[in-house]
Amino acid sequence: MKAKHQRLLLVGLALVALLAAVLLAMSALKDQAAYFYAPGDIARNGVPEGRAVRIGGMVQQGSIVRETDGVTIRFVVTDETQATVPVRFKGIVPDLFKEDSGVVAEGRFGPDGMFVADEILAKHDENYRPPELAGNRHKAESLE
């Protein structure tokens, strides 16, 4: 094989590999990226059933209920539109999870409209706000 042909072949292979990687990435992104919704978005556009999503807002005052198994909790997420989303979560909640405080939950909506969370995002410290929520709050402030 001539040197020039070999270089062309290698460049071609590299392009094919990269193209395949990008296509693979794009299709996986379409199926598996979790979009972020606030309760207001859900109220406006309906429930994205069956797909992994994130919801974020404030934990409604007085809404945290512990089920009898001791490890499952239910609570309600709300936002400045006063829309609400009921959430169920089985696991150990992060240390700074409390009522009237920000929360981001990742999971899926069940057929009954209950959001079943696989994960409640940990706030690492008092100053930490989930980035999505920080943006929303910012938006809310600029509207006022």
Binding site: Q6, V22, A25, L29, Q32, A34, Y35, V71
Partner: protein, 641 residues
């Protein structure tokens, strides 16, 4: 006074790097021996100056000098000394100073120890290194001064994020930085070689030890970071596909590709243009990582700075360096003479396949990491890309890569016959097939990726030892040993990952003291919950007694800690390590009626993940020493002749 001294040292280092750049550029233009000769000493003195500045900052932290803004904002007099020391780089300014210190010390080391490179290429390399340093000195001095004073000094500091108050902080960031920033050396070598058009085997042999050293550090840093996250965060996972983790994985993927293509260039004089390109890409990934972590664009435990101005500054530096390197590449690469050619079924061919797959993996991780940022910037829409995306895309590619890694060293350079390659692979293939059948029969219902992971690990483990078969082991060169150990490490690590995801047993319960819980082979009695106190925290501590069958019982003490400065709660997992896995226990919340949440995992063979990581790094070290020894021997032989 010492803070001002540190700042002065930093200014001196910045001035020296400017001088180094100018002297090198003028020297290369005029061929003046005096100018060219001044570059090496300048690089060394510059490294000493910035190391001094960093030492001053460490001293300020050790003494908890609260009149320095950075210390007051990130330290506390009641902290154990080790965290005062490590806290030096547990914040934005300090970690950027560490970054630039590592950059300059690496440049100084090249100036002191590099003897193989021809002089003009070396000077051009040091010029490139000085140019990178200059940008980051400007960043520190104008946008992130670590020595800024606070007047009046507060009575007490604000403390360090408790998650960072762990011995891991002393080790993980510096190692990772040595790797991250060490890659800059490869970049500067590439720029230097492009400037002097000196791309060939000699150049590759000179560059290889530096790439290897940075790559070893990266490997260690990532392995240590993974273990740190595993035991400190208490989530039981060892890799979260967090953007910050990806920021360290991407340079590693590029550096791994570079390491292999450099060996083609050094041994067979092939892949010239590609190797240069990879060096540029690898450092670009380090810069993108720095940008992601340091700009505050991501919110995570790693992102200390939330300041858009700093983000813009780093982004501008990134654009300038990568842009000019690519421009130089575009202008010069056509003048780099064509390298040697080879058959596709050859060692070179397998290394090309390795490079393509690593690059594809890099692309996938890069897309997944940047896509949410780009989408939000463009449309305001928010989404997160997490493990489902990364696992389903990188998993299959990584398995193919492991297969190529297993076969590659058994294929000859230049050209080989398929029949012979298959024959050499017969035993590993048989072992993999046995593993497949065994798992299907005895562990039915495994998911496809963990199943294939275990099978490929078995086959690759056997294949990676194969290059030693029928060889005189005492005369086998050290770098061959290095390759064998590193490849075996990949198989070991893969076995750990697959085993963890296939066989982990998890229990989440609410239990009263006195109750017992069964997880995997262990019976665990929940004895009591008691308050305990540490130097700067108080905690609730559970006492668990675990017993495996009729074995000796042992106790575990998971804690829920509350820190006072800054106020924060963390959970400290209690982990028992056994030869065949780890028992991982976390204490959760009380339900107010005497029950406590307990989360218990039995993770078979999980420790292999980090053992494999260590083996990969150790293999790199063997290879580095082996190459250095051989180069020294051949240099002596040349001198003799």
């Amino acid at each position: 006074m010492i803070a001002e001294f540190g700042l002065a040292a930093l200014w001196v280092a910045a001035a020296l790097s400017l001088l180094q750049l100018v002297a090198a550029a003028a020297g290369l233009r005029s061929d003046s021996e005096a100018l060219l000769g001044s570059v090496r000493p300048l690089a060394v003195v510059q490294a000493a100056a910035v190391a001094l500045a960093f030492a001053v900052l460490i001293l300020l932290f050790l003494r908890t000098d609260l009149s320095v803004l950075l210390v007051a904002a990130n330290s506390h007099s009641a902290k154990p000394w080790i965290y005062k020391f490590a806290g030096t780089w547990g914040n934005h300014e300090g970690s950027m100073l560490l970054w630039v210190a590592v950059l300059s010390v690496a440049g100084g080391a090249v100036a002191l120890f590099e003897r193989k490179l021809q002089q003009r290429t070396l000077i051009a390399t040091l010029a490139a290194q000085a140019a990178i340093g200059l940008g980051f000195y400007a960043f520190l001095l104008f946008a992130s001064n670590p020595f800024a004073r606070l007047d009046p000094a507060p009575a007490e500091g604000q403390g360090l994020n408790p998650l960072l108050q762990d011995p891991g902080l002393a080790f993980h960031p510096p190692t990772l930085y040595f790797g991250y920033v060490g890659i800059s050396i490869a970049f500067s070598f590439a720029v230097g070689a492009l400037i002097t058009r000196d791309v060939g085997p000699a150049f590759a042999r000179a560059m290889r030890p530096w790439v290897l050293a940075a790559w070893i550090m990266l490997t260690l840093g990532i392995t240590a970071g993974s273990y740190w996250a595993y035991y400190e965060l208490g989530w039981g996972g060892w890799w979260f596909w967090d953007p910050v983790e990806n920021a360290s994985l991407m340079p590693w993927l590029a550096a791994t590709a570079l390491l292999h293509s450099v060996s083609v260039l050094a041994t067979r004089d092939g892949l010239r243009a590609w190797t240069i390109m990879l060096a540029v890409v690898a450092f670009s990934m380090s810069m993108i990582g720095t940008f992601l972590v340091r700009s505050g664009i991501l919110t995570s435990v790693h992102a200390f700075a939330v300041d858009p101005e700093r983000g813009t500054f780093i982004l501008a530096l990134l654009g300038i360096y990568i842009g000019s390197a690519l421009a130089l590449y575009a202008v010069r690469i056509a003048t780099v003479r064509q390298g040697a050619t080879f058959n596709l079924l050859s060692r070179e061919g397998s290394l090309v396949a390795n490079n393509l797959l690593l690059t594809a993996l890099l692309g996938i991780v890069l897309v997944g990491t940047l896509y949410p940022l780009a989408l939000e910037a463009a449309t305001g829409e928010k989404l997160s890309v997490g493990p489902p995306y990364f696992n389903s895309t990188t998993g299959p590619l990584a398995l193919i890569l492991v297969a190529i890694m297993a076969a590659g060293p058994l294929i000859r350079w230049r050209h080989d016959q398929l029949r012979m390659v298959v024959r050499r692979l017969a035993i590993p293939l048989a072992i993999a097939a046995t593993a497949l059948v065994g798992l299907l029969v005895f562990q039915p219902g495994l998911h496809i990726l963990p199943l294939l992971g275990l099978v490929f690990a078995a086959g690759a483990g056997a294949a990676s030892i194969a290059p030693l078969v029928k060889r005189n082991l005492r005369r086998t060169p050290l770098f061959t040993w290095g390759m064998v150990v590193a490849h075996l490490g990949v198989a070991v690590s893969l076995a750990g990952m697959a085993s963890e995801s296939a066989f982990t047993r998890e229990r989440l319960v609410a239990a009263r003291p006195g109750e017992t819980v069964i997880v995997g082979p262990y019976t665990i009695r929940f004895d009591s919950v008691d308050p305990v106190a540490g130097p700067n925290w108080s905690a609730i501590e559970a006492t668990l007694t675990a017993r495996r069958g009729q074995g000796t019982p042992f106790t575990l003490h998971p804690q829920a800690r509350t820190f006072s400065a800054p106020p924060m709660e963390t959970s400290e997992a209690a982990i028992a390590t056994r030869l065949d896995g780890q028992l991982y226990t976390v204490l959760g919340k009380s339900d107010g009626q005497g029950r406590w949440q307990l989360r218990l995992w039995w993770k078979p063979l999980v420790t292999l993940i980090w053992l494999g990581g260590g083996m990969i790094a150790f293999g790199g070290l063997l290879s580095l020493v082996g190459h250095l020894r051989r180069d020294r021997r051949s240099a002596r032989r040349e001198a003799f002749e």
